[in-house]
């Protein structure tokens, strides 16, 4: 029976065929009393309905966190969380932060050291000691 190699098929890539947003939930925490929440309160009052309407796939929770700075917390489908403190920020800046969290993958931030990165495997293949010419010593 002839052996058949495994056929290479297209690997699943997010965005090829379907795009699944990695962010599943955004929590908005604010304080009614503290001044650092002024921008957040304004954002929640005026900008949140539009933001929530634009992103129906993200669950949005708003809850008070008394006597603490305002925070946006993103929950991702890989199980990770990302929190951004938005103290003393203007509503526009808070919207930027919310978009940042929305678009994030949920992975830890990594420093790119090499100029080129690829997810394709090398054309040359991996070196093996059992293949190729056996040289006599």
């Amino acid at each position: 029976m002839p052996l058949k190699g495994i056929r290479t098929v297209t690997a699943a890539r997010n965005g090829v065929g379907a795009f699944i947003l990695q962010c599943k939930r955004l929590d908005f925490h604010y304080c009614d009393w503290a001044g650092s929440s002024r921008g957040m309160v304004s954002f929640l009052k005026h900008s949140l309905p539009a933001f929530a309407k634009e992103n129906p796939q993200i669950e949005i929770r708003v809850s008070p966190r008394p006597h603490k700075h305002p925070v946006i917390k993103g929950h991702y489908i890989n199980g990770r969380e990302k929190a951004v403190c938005v103290r003393n920020l203007e509503p526009e800046q808070i919207l930027q932060k919310a978009n940042l969290l929305k678009e994030a993958s949920g992975e830890k931030l990594k420093r790119t050291k090499k100029p080129v990165t690829s997810i394709n495997e090398s054309v040359r293949g991996i070196w093996s000691p059992y293949h190729g010419d056996l040289r006599t010593i």
């Binding site: 009052k45 949140l48 309905p49 008070p64």
Partner: protein
């Protein structure tokens, strides 16, 4: 002189029992009974005089040293006092007995006091108090110690009630001005009866000039004027305005009604401020001036008494009319800022979105447990281990 080692050994073994076979020599010496301490007292066992007495005799050089018979011991102060207390009635009774003995010998034996054995007290009840220093705090409370608040201890927060209080104060002070009475004496009457209050409520204030308080009052009719002047003449005078006297000004029926109301109000404190009146009918009192310091003081004192609202010094200084008083109270009574959660819950555009959830309360870790369905399990486990009740 030491006993022989053999004897010591035996002593030690006898002392400690047969559990330990070997005991070192130091321990043996330590464990030896030392009779010489007791011997001090045993030496003259036949002699009854204790060592302290013998030392005392030696110090004085005589067998009868001066001073107390037993200066180092004996009965305590309380025991002596108790004995004295017991012996005194005994003496009295024995005197009586001897007096009675002259007349009738048969009664003597019956009249002898019964021997009451001493019983130590187990509780403090019934015992004489010791340590009273005669200070104020030690004395029982007197009438002067009772505290009666100047105001009614009730802070009125509705603007209608505040304006009612200001109107009432203005009318009262106008009357006091008119009658040339000391203005602050109106505070002696904490609150009026309902018919009197109704008369005051019906009055209007139309200040002709800002400074004139005595001519600003406008009565609805002549009857009201007479009644109010009659009532206020008694305030601040020699005799206080009794509620019955107030009512006498009205008529006999009103007097009866008032009397019953007075009794009712004495029995239970009034719950509705200003007898259910919601607002002042007249707004003319707002224009009255408070530039005169005496009038200003009297007005603010009476107003504070009626409303329970007090004024800080800088505000006191800046107030120059009744309208400003009301303005200050308005700023004080400003409603609390609405919580954002309430605002968001009431926002239809946000509530109509299915992906938005607004929480009124802070979300705690147990909320997460509840959401994930593990709260009951955690709770049950904690209860099983006895960590929560």
């Amino acid at each position: 002189m030491r006993t022989s080692l053999r004897q010591v050994n035996l002593d030690v073994i006898r002392l400690q029992g047969s559990r330990f076979l070997y005991v070192c020599s130091v321990c043996r010496q330590e464990a030896r009974p030392r009779p010489f301490v007791a011997r001090q007292f045993l030496r003259n066992a036949s002699d009854a005089t204790p060592i302290t007495e013998r030392v005392r005799r030696k110090l004085w050089g005589t067998d009868n040293p001066p001073g107390l018979k037993d200066p180092y011991g004996g009965e305590g102060v309380f025991e002596k006092k108790f004995k004295r207390g017991q012996s005194a009635p005994q003496e009295d009774e024995s005197a009586e007995v001897t007096r009675a003995a002259g007349t009738e010998n048969a009664v003597v034996e019956d009249a002898l006091p019964e021997e009451t054995p001493y019983e130590p007290a187990t509780t403090w009840e019934g015992l004489q108090r010791v340590g009273h220093l005669g200070r104020w705090s030690d004395l029982p409370p007197s009438e002067a110690d009772a505290y009666n608040s100047f105001s009614s201890n009730r802070r009125l927060t509705k603007l209608g009630h505040v304006s009612l209080a200001a109107h009432q104060t203005a009318v009262e002070l106008c009357l006091m001005h008119l009658l040339k009475k000391p203005l602050t004496s109106i505070c002696d009457v904490a609150e009026h009866e309902k018919p009197v209050f109704k008369l005051i409520w019906n009055c209007k204030i139309q200040p002709k000039s800002n400074t004139e308080w005595d001519s600003a009052l406008v009565y609805p009719d002549k009857e009201t004027e007479d009644a109010l002047i009659y009532i206020f003449e008694q305030i601040g005078g020699a005799q206080q305005a009794a509620p019955e006297a107030n009512a006498a000004a009205e008529d006999a029926e009103a007097a009866e009604l008032e009397d019953t109301q007075d009794r009712d109000s004495a029995q239970e404190p009034r719950s509705i401020p200003f007898f259910g009146y919601k607002y002042a009918k007249d707004r003319g009192f707002l224009a009255l001036s408070l530039n005169d310091p005496v009038t200003k003081f009297a007005f603010l004192k009476r107003f504070s008494q009626l409303t329970g609202q007090y004024f800080p010094d800088p505000i006191l200084h800046s107030i120059s009319s009744v309208g400003q008083v009301i303005d200050h109270i308005k700023t004080e009574l400003k409603p609390k800022p609405k919580k954002l959660a309430d605002h968001l819950v009431g926002d239809d555009s946000l509530q109509s979105l299915p992906n938005v959830k607004v929480f009124v309360k802070k979300q705690k870790p147990w909320h997460k447990d509840e959401e994930l369905g593990r709260k009951k399990l955690i709770d049950a486990e904690l209860r099983e281990r006895g960590l929560v009740e």
